[in-house]
Symmetry: D3
Subunit: 164 residues, 6 copies
């Protein structure tokens, strides 16, 4: 049977850590849906369309991968898409507790939905989108953290912000 | 493509927490191999044959499940069996750190092997085989923790121990 | 001697997790004061009066329970009320560190005040008021998390918010 | 109503950290039973009688305190003694996880038994009986960690060990 | 060779916990630069000049200590100053994870920069600037937490805030 | 003034993780003493002389480094050697709590002794001597974890163990 997994997130922007998780998920599941959350409470730097565009540039060539957006509750979206699993990356203990909590809540809302935790390569264990944006803001070198295309988009965005 | 996962452990004995993880794994992978470690440093209460027998009684009816034993390194066994993933249960922060460490070591030994972490139902979050054995030793009620067949086997074992 | 305990919190709104802690506290202490913090930095969804009203509906029938509000420092309030202990719920490691910190600060301010930690039932281990509000916002089913009366009050509040 | 609490432990030997917890427990409960575990898996340095004797010397003058031994399961002992609560000290995150696990298991075995966590003074946050014994073995100064009477008993024991 | 260390932070305001770390750093390094971050995302209560002034009053007499401000990336500042190490205080597990992350990012940006973690005295293990400000706001006694000069500056600031 | 640091440990055997910490320590301190503990409770695979020999082969060319053994209490040895600091590596949260505890105990015994925590490169974050020995025992490839000389010594030792 075809096994479908959803990898939800804000992806503001996609980092090498996300790429690593997507590649692992694609090696296990028959179909992986990268689902960009549109209703993040943290004000994103990039629009949903921009975030989806960057994901497409970076991992668009992985077969059986789909890039989508998600508006309501993850559990409702998962049912709608016929997904068997939700993918989450685990880096640190603080991640672990929050992710555990979300997984338990989601299971309460839909007993059948299974949360699958994957670990990024240890060289990305400290990496998240906020750090990348903060570094970029102070002119730090972010080439170890995000693909070239994303680097350019961040620089563009920063230039526009300064102008205003 | 057929996706194969290995769920290694000591299973001394299998608990409802293990059952829960096996059921989740079976819902995601096309084939799940429950692999009983024969070389555990902790002196097990049950022989490998007894542990495999209990697993068979408890989850033997799950389709596409195989029960095996594993002697050498997990990564070698995984290659030999053509497995895509290793399943591990995550209950607590202390689990998390140890499991992370093992997953990183295994990845170092075989870059392609992916460790997949699943979370048991929160009602088994505190459960492990050692607690079950300790409770049984003092005559505690273990029916919430292990299936009936395992309860009986533990009682038998305890009776034999006392006799000697 | 009559032993008095204060259970301080924002209770925005009260959840089954809070109810569980209140019941345990009431089994140990001769008098329990549920003290609603009026000066929370997080902007509450409900007014202090509304929060106290929901608490009254949900646990008002527990004997020797009092529902009050607290404005200044917890240690001052505790002295004023002649309390022997402060009750706090412990769910996760992240809770633990914050609660430890607060307990140490409070002890520094009043050496006699004892913080007592209780653990909610594991089925509420992931539960807090923020998650309930977030779920409700996206139309999620919250009946496992809060009593019926609170569910209705949340729905009312959400409807009013949308109107404005 | 008279509220009874049990403070179980190995107390091999009692430290200032234990004394601190006992004093706090005695301020909250009408009766506190310090219950020395006789079946510890760790081989104790002192016999049960010696451990009870040291506890009596150190905290015997606290009113409404009882010193007892416990052989079987804590939950059975608690029922037998009519206890409302079990007291446990919480020092660190690693404590927290183990204690949480034990509290959940005990609650499963007896829903009515409430585990109450107390925090020792931060100056004892790092202290346990094993460290005291290890220090004593290498001639370290342990006067900050255990009362004078316990110091002497440890020295005696160490001298006897060396002789044999 | 002269060993130089930077101790970066917001210091809004300096507490006894910071003082403790500065004293330890000064015992190990030949020169310690206390570097006040000017671009903190949290809105500080005190201006950079006020924060530097308080640091000067409190630890200005420690030899080989310098008080400076830092605007851009820490790694750039460290290179500019010829520093061998960055000093960070470690109090709790939550500190630990964040600090680890920052240290790893900084090492990625400059392989030569070494982060050195020091532990404050356990009596300051729970202490941070936010707690001091929160206590002061509600009229709590903060004399155990900050030096007299800082107490006065906080009171002044609070009075001014109320007036506006 | 010459700053001296002690890096104590069992080093059974030295791994790339230890090497990494030694190199960082040597960049900060004027003199680093690698002190092999002779009284480890865990039964070491290698004798103290063998462990010191391996350390010498692996890091012996680092200037101002000394390799010694330590028998009694670390704090006594530190005073005897005129050391300013004790070096400890920090990898994970579980490390952190134990190390914190030891640092607090050591500080209690000698207020002047400062524990300095360094973080190994993230690629060694999961590495310790036990894992290396366990892998070697099952014929795993350990070349990423220990230098060539140590690999050979481990193989020799394992061959000898098998013969007996």
């Amino acid at each position: 049977m075809n096994k479908i997994a959803i990898y939800p997130g804000t992806f503001d922007p996609i980092t090498y850590g996300h790429v690593d998780i997507i590649q692992r998920a694609a090696a296990i599941f028959d179909r992986v849906i990268v689902a960009v959350a549109t209703n993040s409470q943290k004000r994103p730097l990039f629009t949903v369309a921009e975030r989806m565009d960057m994901i497409r540039h970076v991992v668009g060539d992985i077969p059986h991968l789909e890039i989508d957006q998600i508006e309501g509750l993850l559990v409702d979206y998962a049912v709608e898409r016929g997904a068997h699993a939700v993918i989450r990356g685990l880096r640190a203990v603080s991640d672990f507790e929050f992710e555990l909590q979300m997984a338990l809540v989601n299971r309460k809302l839909n007993e059948k939905l299974i949360t699958v935790f994957l670990m990024p390569h240890e060289k990305y264990s400290y990496l998240n989108s906020s750090i990348v944006k903060e570094l970029a803001q102070f002119g730090g070198n972010i080439e170890c953290f995000v693909p070239k295309y994303v680097q350019e988009k961040i620089k563009e965005k920063m230039r526009n912000h300064e102008r205003h």
